[in-house]
């Protein structure tokens, strides 16, 4: 009885940095360890496996797959399928990332097994069934369900599980896998190139300054951009801003945009539809600036300023600039 977990790597091919296990996959491995109980926990890595990182998370077996050039979702699924049948796997887990959901959907289609996406919990009932809790509406609603199958195929809602190393590192056996993959499984394969956009990414920014309908138009973002630059952060927007064409969709925070996890989210002129909360509830602190004290955002924010962002934000920018250049000269002590 073995639980398999697809472990995605960070870095690598494109930027040339040493590859570690992606944070989302560490969360999936933590989840899979709970399912494995006393059985084996096998990580499947396409590329060079960071073995000690995996051992720290309780992985007992690492299947290092070589010979597949680049990301090929159907081929990856085929490898998982053959590992599962070879080692009588009783569950296959992956992070609920774009790749994780895609590969396990292929695995479900190839094997005819059901696939449960974005699970927050799974308990083996011991009778061929699993009691699962999975996210709907990007986590705004939870579904309690029964998964009955010869093997459980599921992805993990990465915001519902924290990455926790095992109490003690496991002794790891590394298996080198060089699969013979059918050409048809390789027909769809990613060609990777560096994405154009530079600057801090919305998903990983420490500070996000949000703008919504209250900004008023495409030319109203200047003060928000200035504030974001002062705070070392980036600007994010609500759905209305992108559907009005004021800003590109890459800046959207929410269910159909980006999920953010900053230390601070400063939401300006955003009333707060629940689809927006699905994207910003990972913020450690939320400050709302809004003319409406009854806006839904007020029930999610830690602090609020009641007022027009067009008055508040320029005043805040001025105040922060004044702090940055204190009178008397800050360099005096270095002479």
């Amino acid at each position: 009885m073995t639980v398999f977990c697809l472990a995605e790597l960070d870095g690598g091919a494109v930027d040339g940095t040493a590859a570690g296990v992606a944070d989302a996959s560490l969360r999936a491995i933590t989840f899979a360890r709970g399912l494995a109980a006393s059985g084996g926990l096998a990580a499947v890595v396409f590329g060079d496996p960071p073995v000690s990182d995996l051992a720290a998370y309780g992985v007992t077996d690492v299947h290092a797959v070589s010979g597949i050039d680049g990301y090929a979702p159907q081929a990856w699924a085929r490898v998982l399928q053959s590992l599962m049948s070879e080692h009588s796997g009783h569950a296959v887990v992956a992070a609920g990332t774009e790749r994780g959901n895609e590969v396990l959907a292929h695995l479900g289609a190839i094997t005819g097994l059901p696939m449960a996406a974005n699970c927050a919990q799974a308990v083996d009932n011991g009778d061929g069934g699993y009691a699962i809790v999975r996210q709907r509406w990007a986590g705004l609603l939870l579904e309690e369900a029964v998964l009955e199958a010869s093997a459980a195929v599921l992805t993990v809602a990465t915001d519902a599980v924290s990455p926790v190393p095992a109490e003690s590192a496991a002794a790891v056996t590394v298996h080198h896998v060089a699969p013979s993959v059918d050409g048809g499984d390789l027909a769809v394969r990613a060609v990777e190139t560096a994405a154009g956009a530079g600057g801090a990414s919305l998903a990983t920014a420490r500070v996000v300054v949000g703008g919504g309908r209250g900004v008023g138009g495409a030319d109203g973002f200047g003060p928000l951009e200035e504030l974001a630059a002062l705070l070392g952060g980036v600007v994010g927007v609500s759905r209305v801003v992108t559907s009005e064409g004021w800003r590109p969709h890459t800046m959207q925070v929410g269910q159909t945009g980006t999920k953010i996890t900053p230390d601070l989210y400063l939401a300006c002129g955003i009333s707060g539809a629940i689809q927006h909360f699905a994207g910003c509830s990972g913020a450690k602190s939320i400050i709302a600036v809004n003319t409406d004290p009854a806006a839904p955002m007020m029930t999610r924010a830690d602090y609020a300023v009641i007022g027009d962002l067009h008055a508040v934000i320029p005043a805040l920018v001025t105040a922060l600039r004044d702090r940055a250049v204190p009178s008397g000269g800050g360099a005096a002590g270095r002479t």
Partner: protein, 255 residues
């Protein structure tokens, strides 16, 4: 170019999700309905491709009779035909059953391309497009934010950004592509489009009679406990700025 777009009728939830008494569905007595945002973009993408290359756009949905409303909305945007695979009201078909039902429409239509949203905004199963592609024996790409078709060569190029890296997939036609919001900015329906949609005939075919399939079986739904906060009000307008600066210092985002 013949394109099939698969859509799903979902409730438009705005402020809060409330459930029916049996906790097996969202209480929709006060809500409207729409197709998911990703699917609005799938329809727009199909209409643009046909404007460029010629051809036709068919929309299909698996749902209750009232899902006709969503098909007509797609017709108003430029689709030329619609199929309703009709289910009993209240039946929630899982992703395997949904893919099988859509396959019956997709297989015989002579389509070059089937477009879907990456995931439905309600159930979020992330698999219907891929399962449909396997049933058809066609290649698939998911989460796509840019799509270029080479009609003459019978190929598509589909790309998305993943962990800051641009991934581009080359696909032979016919193929299945699931798209995400951001691939385009959907148009609003025109008045002539609405009038045409009102009169258009919708093909109806019977859907699966029961939810019986190997799919995951939902037992109940629950709304997670939201951290119910009441924000500390720092003040009104620009007068609140000194207090706001103090909070930023406390939070460690300014020194």
């Amino acid at each position: 170019m013949k394109i099939l777009v698969c859509v799903k009728r979902v409730p438009t939830v705005g402020g809060a999700i409330t459930l029916t008494a049996d906790r097996r569905a969202i209480d929709t007595r006060a809500s409207g309905f729409a197709i998911s945002p990703h699917e609005e973009c799938a329809v727009e993408e199909a209409v643009r491709l046909v404007e460029k290359f010629g051809g036709s756009v068919m929309v299909a949905t698996l749902g209750p009779a009232v899902a006709e409303e969503q098909l007509r909305a797609c017709l108003a945007l430029g689709a030329s035909g619609a199929v309703l695979i009709e289910t009993e009201p209240g039946l929630e078909a899982g992703p395997m059953a949904t893919a099988a039902a859509l396959h019956s429409v997709a297989a015989d239509g002579g389509f070059d391309l089937v477009l879907l949203g990456n995931e439905a905004s309600d159930t979020g199963d992330y698999q219907v497009g891929i399962r449909l592609a396997h049933l058809l024996g066609w290649p698939a790409a998911t989460g796509i934010k840019a799509l270029a078709m080479d009609d003459a060569a019978g190929r598509a190029s589909a790309s998305r950004t993943y962990r800051g890296v641009l991934e581009t997939f080359a696909l032979e036609l016919p193929c299945v592509v699931t798209v995400k919001e951001g691939i385009n900015l959907p148009r609003y329906p025109s008045l002539p489009g609405r009038l045409r949609a009102k009169r258009a005939a919708i093909t109806r075919v019977p859907g699966p009679a029961s939810a019986a399939s190997a799919d995951v079986r939902m037992t109940s739904l629950r709304v997670p406990d939201a951290p119910k906060k009441q924000a500390t009000v720092l003040g009104q307008g620009a007068e609140a700025v000194p207090a706001l600066v103090n909070v930023l210092v406390e939070l460690g985002v300014v020194s």
